[in-house]
């Protein structure tokens, strides 16, 4: 039985090596399992949209994409990436989706300096800020950059002074709260409690019971199934507080969820790397392309942040490949150079990379509105261009704040 398997394997191996002519093989990972399944699926829609819009031709070569699934845990990401490299022989990686996956894949990238890794959507700060890998490029902003503007808007326009936070207990949400706290506390606001729940939490009863009453608003840093579960239980518990949302909380992945729970989000303020109703023609064109690529029941009314990120990273990769005419010789040196220099006109504003190969881009403060037909969208309140990774701080000052964690940054002015 086993030897039959071997024969089949050998055949598979031989066929695998013979067919890789004139193709550029790109491995893509997305969270197609677990809590973030919905996010992974929409990320892939963004990727497919980009391929539809830009085409697969690179000079006389053609792009070929191989997809692997992860479940938002770092080890699943490393396993998927290794499979893509070693078995599917991909030359370029478009990976991964989630924060801690990003940290693990970045570290893994160092063991394959000859290949090129383009981050698909992950947004932990550490990935490109601490000990970055020279062959890892990120065209989306990190979680802290995505919160720029929110603290100020909450403090100055909404008049919130005291808030509490509830977030998933991992690097991306730490990074989001980091961005929020720096701005909000810098202006004099107070964060009175920070609650952290494990990714994949189903029962939020104790979390909801522990929410303080004497705060002006509650900040939610949840995503995917966790966010929907929280909203359901929060409504059942009679919660009425003002809400503020993180970038994957106020996102089509949640705003388009079934049921009434999402209605608790109307009026919620949030910040993210995109806003659903932005008037900019590039954004509108992207939304149209996304809607045209999939039938209505197989997509969200409007692309989620994940779709936008996957679109942006796929776009950067295809444009850079065209710039070097698909030349991957000399350990892909030309491609890497082109990727580091390229400036893309992404749907959510211009994006260029800093010296750590981290995106500098545009951020949006939004408010959730009902379009009158029961669909929820995020409406632009403020657009902030050129947000860099140190959030406008002097790099030395920024380094002193420390890396995002459950307790960093402290709620004070740095």
């Amino acid at each position: 039985m086993r030897s039959v398997g071997f024969a089949a394997l050998t055949a598979l191996l031989l066929s695998g090596t013979a067919s890789a002519q004139e193709k550029i093989r790109v491995g893509v990972t997305a969270t197609l399992e677990g809590t973030y399944t919905v996010l992974g699926e929409d990320g892939m829609r963004g990727h497919v949209t980009a391929v539809n819009v830009l085409g697969k031709k690179i000079g006389d070569k053609e792009l070929e994409f191989v997809v692997a699934s992860t479940d938002a845990t770092p080890d699943s990401a490393v396993r998927a990436v290794r499979k893509l490299i070693e078995q599917d022989k991909v030359q370029i990686l478009l990976s991964p989706l989630s924060g801690d996956e990003g940290i693990a894949v970045k570290n893994f990238a160092k063991t394959h300096p000859e290949l090129t890794f383009v981050n698909a959507a992950s947004g932990a700060q550490e990935t490109t800020y601490v000990d970055p890998a020279p062959n890892f490029f990120r065209y989306n902003m990190d979680g802290a950059q995505w919160q720029v503007g929110l603290g100020k808007y909450a403090y100055e326009t909404k008049g919130y002074r005291k808030i509490a936070t509830v977030g998933e207990d991992y690097s991306f949400i730490y990074t989001q709260v980091f961005g929020l706290a720096l701005e909000f506390c810098g202006l004099g606001g107070k964060i009175t409690s920070r609650q952290w729940v494990p990714l994949g939490t189903k029962d939020f009863a104790s979390v909801i019971a522990a929410l303080p009453d004497d705060v002006d608003a509650i900040y939610l840093g949840l995503g995917g199934a966790d966010a929907v579960n929280f909203l359901n239980q929060y409504q059942q518990a009679g919660g009425k507080a003002h809400l503020m949302g993180g970038s994957i909380m106020i996102d089509q992945t949640i705003l388009s969820s079934k049921g009434n729970a999402k209605n608790a989000l109307i009026g919620t303020i949030a910040a993210s790397g995109q806003a659903d109703t932005w008037e900019d023609p590039r954004w509108q064109k992207f939304v149209k392309a996304y809607q045209d690529s999939f039938p209505p029941e197989k997509r969200f009314p409007s692309p989620s942040l994940l779709a936008t990120n996957y679109y942006g990273s796929t776009m950067a990769l295809i444009l850079a490949l065209r710039e070097v005419n698909g030349d991957l010789s000399n350990n892909q040196a030309k491609l890497k150079e082109a990727l580091a220099k390229i400036e893309i006109d992404a749907p959510n504003g211009k994006i260029k990379l800093d010296s750590n190969r981290q995106a500098i881009g545009t951020n949006f403060v939004t408010e959730v509105v009902d379009d009158g037909k029961g669909a929820l969208f995020s409406k632009v309140v403020k657009v902030i261009p050129d947000v860099n990774q140190t959030l406008g701080y002097d790099p030395a000052t920024f380094a002193k704040i420390g890396l995002p964690s459950r307790t960093v940054p402290e709620c004070k002015k740095y």
């Binding site: 030897s3 071997f6 070693e86």
Partner: protein, 361 residues
């Protein structure tokens, strides 16, 4: 237990039909294919490339070794423990914590020859303590308490940042480098896993016929009679847990060297259940079942998505295919693949009258 007692026990067991060890049914003279597989495994680096060598065969051997520890407990001791992967993960974490990794604030930076034995000793300690708790229960309660230990450990690693670095886990773990060989290079690592797997397999096989193993099987079949014979039933069971923890720990150390990274996802409850699936699919009556189960599991896990996409179906449903595969095996044979093979062999030999090897608890 004194030697005389052990000798007596052995006689007592041999006299008992059904529990008596038979001349090894796997023995090489009877099983030419065993030679073929052994030879194939030895020359594997000539046949398979990096991916198949490590991701398929290396991973199979590692998973198989962890499942072997469960097979030992379940098959010979009648104790289904769901914490074997937790013990393996614990050993992996300890290698990361005591050894060298990218998280300098956590890792103590000991050399591998110090960190690895420490990790193994701690894993055995962990397994023994868990076992001491679990032996107070039987059957489904053993499963529940070991599952509880596994779940508790998962949530602990997920939320503890001081030692386990929370959800991020520990990255860029250093792998051993000695006598001029990088033991994580594909071929060296493959032979390392093969050597460990063969050693564990051999020891389990030996133990199954050694006085300790026989006494353990006696405890499995009739604890009351064994107690009456003067055996300390619980001590035997705890010793079995300790030994199984050593095997699982070895698998865990290899696992962490393989990925150079460990995080709570590696010790999640689903992973614990994966080990049970591996053991059940392979068959818990023989040590080799663990490795066969692991091979099937790894093949399905790795290729189910590709397979579905290739035949034009929705790749998102690949978990379903995996589940159906396992269901089919368990449906056709309650004893896993080993059971299937045995039935097929017996049919070929005109109903051999031998009772079926080391029975199942």
């Amino acid at each position: 237990m004194s030697l005389i007692q052990e000798a007596r026990a052995r006689e007592g067991m041999l006299a008992q039909p059904g529990t008596a060890p038979q001349p090894a049914a796997w023995s090489v003279t009877e099983q030419p294919w065993a030679w073929a597989v052994a030879a194939l495994l030895l020359i594997m680096p000539l046949i398979a490339n990096g991916f198949f060598l490590i991701e398929i065969f290396g991973t199979t051997l590692i998973l198989g070794t962890i499942a072997l520890s469960l097979m030992f407990l379940a098959g010979y001791g009648g104790m289904v423990s769901l914490m074997q992967l937790t013990i393996a993960g614990f050993a992996g974490y300890m290698v990361a914590v005591f050894g060298v990794s990218g998280n300098a604030n956590i890792s103590l930076g000991w050399p591998w020859w110090l960190a690895t034995p420490t990790a193994l000793v701690l894993a055995v300690l962990f397994g023994t303590l868990g076992g001491a708790l679990a032996v107070r229960t039987e059957g489904i309660y053993t499963i529940m308490i070991t599952l509880a230990i596994g779940a508790a450990f998962y949530y602990f690693t997920n939320q503890n940042w001081a030692i386990f670095n929370g959800h991020t886990g520990i990255n860029t773990i250093a792998t051993p480098h000695f006598i001029g060989i990088d033991w994580r290079s594909d071929i060296a690592f493959y032979y390392l896993t093969l050597a460990v797997a063969v050693a564990c397999y051999g020891v389990v096989l030996y133990l199954s016929r050694a006085p300790f193993g026989l006494a353990l099987q006696g405890v499995r079949d009739n604890p009351r009679r064994m107690a009456a014979l003067g055996f300390n039933v619980n001590a035997h069971r705890i010793a079995a847990y300790a030994f199984a923890a050593l095997i699982a720990g070895l698998g865990g150390v290899l696992q962490v060297w393989n990925y150079r990274q460990i995080s709570p996802g590696s010790v999640a409850v689903e992973r614990c259940i994966d080990i049970l699936i591996v053991a059940v699919v392979g068959g818990v009556t023989r040590p080799v079942g663990a490795y066969i189960g692991a091979f099937i599991f790894v093949m399905l896990r790795t290729f189910a998505l590709d397979f579905l996409v290739k035949v034009g179906l929705d790749g998102n449903r690949f978990r379903l295919l995996i589940g159906l595969g396992f269901l089919a095996i368990v449906f056709w044979s309650s004893d896993g693949v080993i059971g299937l093979y045995e039935r097929w062999r017996k049919r070929g030999q005109h109903r051999d009258t031998r009772p079926g090897g080391h029975g199942h608890g």
